[in-house]
Symmetry: C2
Subunit: 495 residues, 2 copies
């Protein structure tokens, strides 16, 4: 395939001097429209060494509005980043609504290089391609425009440039790895071909550019970005229209026999004496096992969802008593900030993915996408409906990286909730916990019930199972959670 | 000193059961007031190993509102963090307005341990104490409440606990370093004494707590936090009153003879032929030298300030053409975001401090504190007046860490500005650059002139010199900036 891209195109300096300023102005205007339409734009500039990625990025920076644009490179590898799934670094750097990010190399270039030199296996290579495709799908579904540019050089020109680079030693950082890679031109190009064939998707297509002529390279890249922006704007308009015309979703109640919530035995209790005896024993077990998991680099992501007043906060506090605070974080999730709203909804959760061996406890979670955002109509139907699959993919990334994902739904009856609301109203130190919103949510119990059932059915996976916790008796719920975490830790440690 | 803290205090379990819930409620309410008053609260929990820092932090987390509180620990050392000045990590984790951060160990504990085991020199130890004191001063001046708790144990109890920890090997991570430190109890305590004596300031005092009794430890720590909050609230009220009563600052014009701006020779020009010849040569020099600086780990922080339309953007673009985009970032500074406003004004700049060897180019800078914030009265006089000294200290930290700080003021005449404004109005691709605000700022030329003169006089330091750039002729300005950076790189590389 790469041999077939139109090689040898040239734009003369005289032509370039005419075309470049015109293109620059068009690009600048396109970026402004992108900003107005709140479309995030991600430009990945990858290619063979010597193809002029750096020069092209400098040119793009010169052409674009630097107030909206930021360039990221991921070439410096630190052990530090090995603590998270690969995508973590990229998520940190994604552009918000209307902003532009330029990624030097992007996410595919490195795995091609690594594969060409035999540093990763074929199956790892393919797995990574698939995970990045999945990432792109998630991002473009949410309205991001993704441009992927590959700067190519045929073998003759590549060798010529490499010889020049190798001579300019020292300053140009011609590393032994560069040399190794240059010697593997054929293997490298084969990997690139495979990668491009696999990841040249409709939503995030590749543009292959012959980089041997600088003028042509710049013009072709600029045109690609303009087209991608125009395409994204057109898609957004179609989407907005579709959403405006969409019929409201009629929630289907779930039959009692299929209901997960209705099957929960809420009569389960634990007496105080047993509780007082068991609690410290289980906490000590959690302490020991979570430290063992720390030493083995197994992270834990614990999710708490449940009705208002179901006891999420107090259960988390009992759990925490068993943790080493150096490796633990509680992340309370409230409404998103301005900056968070400007990003993909998973962005704020990716930021908080625990590093290897650490524990992250989420007090409410990404499931807000299919609960509150659905009920309150904060999010169009097509977006939250896609959420189930996106969430499953997200959790899969965490477990694939060796982590534990443990999900708890704390279930209580509406009667028990009412009792706890009333208690909160009369207890001075609990009054802050009860607000008008809680009462409003309570009125929507039925709608929430349907949303919760849908969620439990659609996101209960083998790798991230939902634990529905009978929480009518708080003591029972707390011991249940501790025991479930102990079991999950033991299972993970056995592997 | 440490022998004199009241050791051996004990609270019985029965008393604790009465006192703890009462204290918890008080603490909870105090934190709420802190939130309402928008005071950031930083609690540092340091102490000897075995003193129960982790347990105390868990207890505080149980007592505080977890929606407002976040715990950070800095124990895991990665090479990654060596790329920035020590404080960088801490700045990333500072609490915003109304929020609480708990720092496991905080910033002093590690240097005491390192000093006790001879891992850093006495002068390095003292330097670090001073830099952290300076940091605390900056933070408390901006209204942060800082609590510093040291959990102490006398030698007998410490040894007993250490023996127990050493036996529980594996899980409790009793490292060789722990052992080494335990053998240096006397040296360690001496370092701690010295550190505490030096850093026990009025604005961020130490509380020494005998940690041998868990009940007493928790109660004493809780009380300390409550007192600190109350103290911060009282200080804030006094401050608010003082600011409300403060007389408006009458800006003193600077005499022509003392004026730096008036001495600038704006007639300097470069003809087009010379410019076209020199530019690529200088760009290539910047490319080579900045890469050499990269290899040596010398970072560059380049600051651009100047009148509207003075040519900051275009000069930066010419500069960028000489850079490797993998190690370069342009940071355009506009009005602060909600989150940025909730933090110390230097927070957003600390976030963007370049790592070792990298280049950060600021298009407008922290000098907004003493320019726009002064002129537009966004900031009380006493705050921006303190800015000069805070900024000098900040830049000193960057150069102490081996970086280059290069500051450019782009100077033009009001007539030239008018000419460029008018040109922008009639050139389609420049129209976006000219706004109502630019015209309003132009009307305040005189007030800005005074502020700029003050800035140039008060922040022109030996380590971070102001370059006032005659920019009436853009070509001259661009070559000037390139040459100044080349000179600075050469000087730094010679060291």
């Amino acid at each position: 395939m790469l041999e077939n891209i139109s090689m040898g195109r040239v734009i003369s300096d005289a032509d370039y001097k005419v075309q470049a300023p015109e293109l620059q102005y068009q690009l600048f205007c396109a970026q402004k429209r992108c900003f107005e339409k709140k479309i995030p734009l991600l430009i990945q500039v990858a290619g063979l060494s010597g193809g002029g990625r750096g020069y092209l990025i400098n040119t793009l920076n010169e052409w674009l509005d630097n107030k909206l644009t930021r360039t990221f490179s991921f070439w410096a590898d630190y052990d530090f980043f090995d603590n998270w799934p690969q995508e973590w670094r990229y998520w940190q750097s994604l552009p918000g609504a209307g902003k532009t990010a330029i990624f030097y190399d992007g996410w595919y270039a490195q795995i091609c290089r690594q594969r060409a030199c035999g540093k990763i296996s074929e199956s790892e290579f393919e797995k990574r391609i698939e995970s990045y495709k999945e990432l792109e799908r998630t991002l473009t579904d949410s309205g991001m425009a993704i441009v992927k540019i590959w700067l190519h050089l045929d073998k003759k020109i590549f060798n010529k440039i490499e010889r020049r680079r190798a001579k300019a030693k020292g300053l140009r950082a011609y590393t032994p790895y560069d040399k190794e890679l240059a010697e593997h031109y054929k293997e490298h190009v084969a990997c690139v071909e495979k990668m491009i064939t696999r990841s040249d998707t409709v939503n995030a297509p590749w543009t292959l550019i012959d980089a041997s002529d600088m003028n042509y390279r710049n013009i072709a890249a600029g045109q690609t970005v303009i087209e991608a922006i125009e395409n994204a704007i057109a898609l957004k308009e179609i989407r907005d229209e579709r959403i405006a015309k969409a019929k409201p979703k009629v929630a289907k109640p779930i039959s009692a026999s299929a209901s997960i919530l209705k099957r929960v035995d809420l009569s389960a209790t634990v007496d105080k004496a047993t509780y007082n005896k068991e609690l410290p024993i289980l906490q000590e077990k959690v302490r020991k096992l979570s430290y063992e998991a720390y030493l083995k680099g197994i992270s834990s992501t614990l999710l708490f969802e449940g009705w208002d007043a179901a006891g999420k906060g107090s259960t988390i506090r009992r759990l925490l008593a068993g943790f080493d605070s150096r490796i633990t974080r509680v992340i309370p999730i409230a409404g998103p900030s301005r900056e968070e709203l400007d990003h993909h909804y998973l962005w704020r959760f990716w930021k908080n993915v625990p590093p290897k061996g650490h524990v992250a406890v989420f007090d409410r979670t990404w499931y807000g996408r299919v609960l509150v955002e659905r009920i309150e109509k904060f999010t169009p139907v097509e977006d939250w409906e896609r959420g189930y699959q996106e969430i499953n993919a997200f959790e899969r990334r965490l477990t694939d990286a060796g982590g534990i994902v443990l999900k708890f739904w704390l279930q209580i009856s509406p009667e028990e909730q009412l009792r706890r609301f009333k208690e909160r109203q009369v207890t001075p130190r609990k009054q802050y916990k009860i607000t008008e919103e809680d009462w409003r949510n309570r009125d929507k119990w039925g709608a929430y019930e349907i949303a919760v059932e849908d969620m439990l059915h659609k996101t209960d996976t083998s790798y991230a199972h939902w634990n529905v916790v009978p929480s009518e008796d708080k003591r029972y719920a707390r011991l249940f959670v501790l025991r479930a975490y102990i079991a999950a830790l033991k299972k993970a440690l056995k592997k």
